[in-house]
Amino acid sequence: MRPFDYQRPDGLDHAALLERDGGALIAGGTNLLDLMKLQVETPDTLVDINRIGLDELEPTDDGGIRIGALVSNSVCAADPRIRADWPVLSRAILSGASGQLRNKATTGGNLCQRTRCYYFMNIDMPCNKREPGTGCSALNGRNRIHAVLGANENCIATYPGDMAVAMYALDATVEIAGPDKASRSVKIRDFHRLPGDMPQRDNVLEPGEVITGVTLPAPVGGTQLYRKVRERSSYAFALVSIAAVIRMEEGAISHASLAFGSMAHKPWHDPRIDAALTGAKPSDALFDKVADLLLENAEGYGENDFKIPLARRTVKAVLREATGAST
């Protein structure tokens, strides 16, 4: 860990936030501090945002809910409104990390958590994400946990988290405050990036920007599932995960929204999948079609090849369960 300065603003309009150049925001610190110890992250300044407020869940005018950026994962998952109306989010959060970590982890920090690529976390290894231009060690290395969708030879890392996958299925919006007090909002489905030729950038946040919250649109009801596949049943990142929101009416699917985790550099959402499901009657043929759409451009890099059949089978498990088709 390198020496760093420490500032703790008490509000969003504090100079430390407004006139920030460089430095890193620290919220729960559960990801950032680990990476600082490994010297993967070496900020000169830590701006501690734990005292700026933004730690509540509030209803929005259109029947949705705004989750403040500093709401802890535990509080969010336990909130009665989230549990009743957006249960997929609660389930996704509770499937992640451990009770202790969730108590510290925040909504904003969780969205910005970095990949678990082994080479990214080892500063003695080449890595385009950590040091652009040095190469991708995972491409021909240990890549069991890596991406099969949307990757390229620059980087095959995944976004590893769970919470965001549910937010993708729920079509949430990320609210962002800029250094000049300007604010903007970005659809969460556009928030994380694919590696392209800038694998160092995980998401669309610009320097100096702060996530202030995430809003969920009004509840859509239906069956909401979060399915996380992993060899260790807890305290492990997903090999593949699926967030599903499915509403049935008269034997047909009237609303469908699926998002997929740990398969790409961002949680994966494909509007064609939701469209194919909506209005259709559940059948194995339909579920196969969903898997085909999901995996049509999937590519394995050796050790992670299994994620392709695994995702196909998990799609079937989730859709059968969500639509009430027999298992």
């Binding site: 069991r144 596949v229 049943s233 089978r313």
Partner: protein
């Protein structure tokens, strides 16, 4: 002053059962438990020493070559930095368990990725850590195409040092004539010891004497290892390890932190603390080798083994003399006159391979027991019945009798408790929702080790007692059972016995390793107490048979006298000495048991979850029902790890370890561990130790992963021969959905 026993004959006296206190065997709570959970127990890195500086190891980023230059100037100007040390007394590898001499020391000669090359010392830990990361080192790396990094590339295979090759009769012929046979090859991946407490040392040097607080399992040997490394006389080395937060083999020998802290303290003339990072625990200490194991079983029409083969390939660094003794239990567990047992070793450049959790049986038994299940299926004989039919009369190669062996009772008691159906073994029959449900079983076996041990016991004038030995308690319950043994012998409750451990100035014990601690150190305590009883008898003018000690009173001839009254201001100190003797060769000695488990395999994803697991174990005398059961449970948890997740993932291109923390190297968490049912099958083994106790610590991990493998097959019909059995290995073989 001292009493010594050499176990040349079984010790039939069974002293503990003759005593009256009634504390032995009871589920007494761990005496040091409250201190541990309240944070009062002090671990190595937590000791304070005025003016202590902090050192952080710098480790190599190449797998083979040499250090060309350490650019000390690159960090010496940084705040707080005191020294960059790359002294030839530092150690490049940990000492193997029981080495008793310095391990390989040339830190500038690189043999594996992660090898310590220097230690940076600064006023604070943070300053040292920063400087250690910034230190510029130039290497002359060897041509990587000449460096063997992976087992499959090893260019020659030698007989594993310390392992025994058996070639008896004609196994190929037995295989071809067998009514039923299995010839299968299994693989296991490398395991890390993964103790909770990272290796740590705080060294102090007064110009003559070196005192080190360290996290070590075997002080008796560690003294010599450190003295030899530092060029000091053993008398001038003092080690303290009162609490050890788990070792699992990785703290048997001295680790790099111990030598680095010592060298730095001697050079700087002030105390120095060195704590390994979690990554260094994984990269720079010890691994269990990966293994490839061929098992050949040749049975007659009744399922009785006529031929038996177990051949393993393991690896280690050049010069290391440890080879995972994979076939250790195979030598005595099953019959078969036509026999081949062999461990071959290849030399590769990965970190030192050494003892990790039941070296040998932990991986050997899981493969063997998976093969036995294949034989059960092949022959149509129930898995339990097959094992019952294959309990040899005498050791199949050495032709000696077994000491105690309640294997059949364990198989039956375990099956009964679990509700095992030995007949209906057709796979893929039971489905609950998405899950295939299946059951599997395996035998447990682990050799019994006994070691030379000394312990001193003092009966104080106030009628309490003090037990003192350099033995360690690595979380197993040593403090408690030694207190119970002394309490039983002297008629005291364990709370009236103070047990002092982990100080090398005390009587020399064998340390904690190889499950020998309780039987060896416990026997030394019993012997010391015998000597105290003899002295009391002299005072009373009676024979030992006529003396009853209970609740702090001496009773004889219908007279009851309190110990303080009897001692009348005196205290009695005795040294007990145990030496292993001829019973070691005259009997095949081992602990035995049986595992039964029910698993669920997800039909879609191949995730495996353990639903329940029972184990029945015969470990000789049970000294403390609670700590013994806890040891067995711990072992069963490791079985789950070995079966389903543990896997050291090396990069095949440069030999570095990719998953080097507890987030990425998976050991079981609470949710992976269902209710574990442990049944203790009581027995007495006079040949194993004067206590009539055998080893227990490691038994619970020896075979259980095989039971899980067999249960996975029974659940979904997929036979995996590759551990750990992760979803990626199952997915392509699962039935269509």
């Amino acid at each position: 002053m001292s009493k010594s026993i050499t176990l040349d004959q079984p010790d039939q006296r069974n002293l503990l059962d003759r005593m009256a206190q009634g504390t032995i065997g009871k589920p007494v709570n761990r005496l040091e438990g409250p201190d541990k959970v309240s944070g009062v127990a002090t671990y190595a890195a937590e000791f304070s020493a005025p003016g202590a500086a902090n050192g952080v190891l710098v480790t190599s980023t190449i797998s083979k070559g040499e250090v060309a230059l350490i650019d000390e100037a690159s960090v010496m100007g940084m705040p707080g930095v005191l020294a960059v040390i790359s002294d030839q007394r530092m150690i490049a590898r940990p000492a193997q368990g029981g080495a008793g001499e310095a391990p390989v020391q040339q830190v500038k000669q690189i043999d594996y990725w992660g090898q310590p090359v220097a230690v940076v010392v600064a006023e604070t830990f943070e300053q040292a850590r920063d400087a250690a990361k910034r230190l510029k080192i130039t290497y002359n790396a060897d041509d990587m195409s000449d460096v063997v990094l992976n087992p499959e590339d090893a260019d020659s295979w030698e007989e594993g040092p310390g392992t025994e090759t058996v070639e008896q009769g004609a196994l190929p012929q037995a295989m071809s004539e067998a009514a039923y046979s299995v010839d299968a090859t299994y693989t296991t991946e490398g395991h890390n010891s993964a103790p909770m407490e990272p290796h740590a040392a705080l060294a102090e040097w007064d110009g003559t004497k070196l005192t080190v607080h360290a996290s070590l399992q075997m002080l008796n040997y560690n003294i010599d290892e450190l003295a030899d490394s530092m060029g000091l006389d053993a008398e001038n080395v003092h080690l303290l390890s009162p609490y050890v937060g788990g070792g699992f083999g990785s703290k048997l020998g001295i680790s790099p932190d111990v030598a680095a802290a010592s060298v730095a303290a001697m050079q700087l003339g002030r105390p120095v603390r060195v704590v390994l990072s979690r990554q260094q625990v994984f990269q720079s200490v010890i691994r269990r080798t990966e293994t490839t194991q061929r098992v050949r079983l040749a049975a007659d029409a009744d399922g009785r083994l006529q031929g038996f083969g177990h051949e393993a390939k393991v690896t280690n660094l050049p010069e290391e003399e440890f080879a995972e003794p994979v076939t250790q239990a195979s030598a005595f567990l099953y019959p078969g006159q036509d026999r081949v047992l062999k461990v071959e070793m290849g030399r590769i450049h990965r970190m030192t391979a050494g003892s990790v959790r039941a070296p040998g049986e932990a991986v050997g038994m899981q493969a063997l027991e998976a093969a036995m299940d294949e034989l059960a299926e092949e022959s149509g004989i129930g898995p339990v019945e097959l094992r019952l039919r294959n309990i040899p009369e005498r050791h199949p190669s050495d032709d000696v009798p077994y000491s105690s062996r309640r294997l059949a009772e364990c198989l039956k008691a375990g099956a009964e408790a679990f509700g095992w159906d030995d007949k209906d073994r057709k796979p893929a029959q039971r489905r609950e929702g998405e899950w295939w449900i299946g059951t599997g079983m395996a035998t447990a076996a682990r050799i019994h080790n006994l070691s030379k041990a000394e312990a001193s016991v003092t009966l104080m004038e106030d009628g309490t007692a003090v037990v003192a030995t350099d033995m360690t308690d690595i979380g197993t319950g040593t403090y408690t059972i030694l207190g119970q043994i002394a309490g039983e012998m002297l008629g005291l409750e364990p709370s009236d016995v103070l047990v002092r451990l982990g100080d090398s100035d005390l009587a020399r014990g064998p340390g904690s390793g190889g499950s020998w601690g309780a039987a060896s150190s416990g026997s030394a305590v019993q012997i010391a107490c015998e000597a105290i009883r003899e002295e009391l008898c002299d005072m009373l003018g009676c024979e030992d048979e006529d003396l009853t000690l209970k609740d702090g009173f001496a009773i004889h001839n219908n007279k009851r006298q309190s110990l303080p009254e009897l001692l009348n201001g005196r205290s009695i100190e005795k040294l007990g000495k145990l030496k292993p003797g001829e019973t070691e060769d005259d009997f095949a000695q081992a602990s035995y048991g049986a595992f039964f488990t029910e698993v669920a395999v997800n039909a879609y994803t191949g995730e495996t979850r353990i639903r329940r697991m029972s184990g029945a174990f015969g470990i000789g005398r049970v000294l403390n029902e609670k700590t013994a059961k806890s040891q067995c449970m711990g072992g069963m948890v490791w079985c789950i790890g070995s079966a389903l997740m543990e896997d050291m993932m090396f990069d095949h291109r440069d030999g570095h370890l990719a998953n080097c923390d507890l987030a990425e190297y998976h050991v079981p968490v609470n949710r992976d561990v269902p209710h574990l049912d442990v049944i203790m099958v009581e027995e007495r083994d006079p040949a194993a130790s004067p206590l009539q106790a055998k080893g227990v610590g490691e038994l619970g991990i020896c075979g259980g992963a095989g039971a899980i493998c067999n249960a996975i097959y029974n659940a979904c019909g997929v036979r995996l021969r590759s551990f750990p059995m992760t979803p990626d290995k199952l997915i392509d073989h699962l039935p269509e959905i």
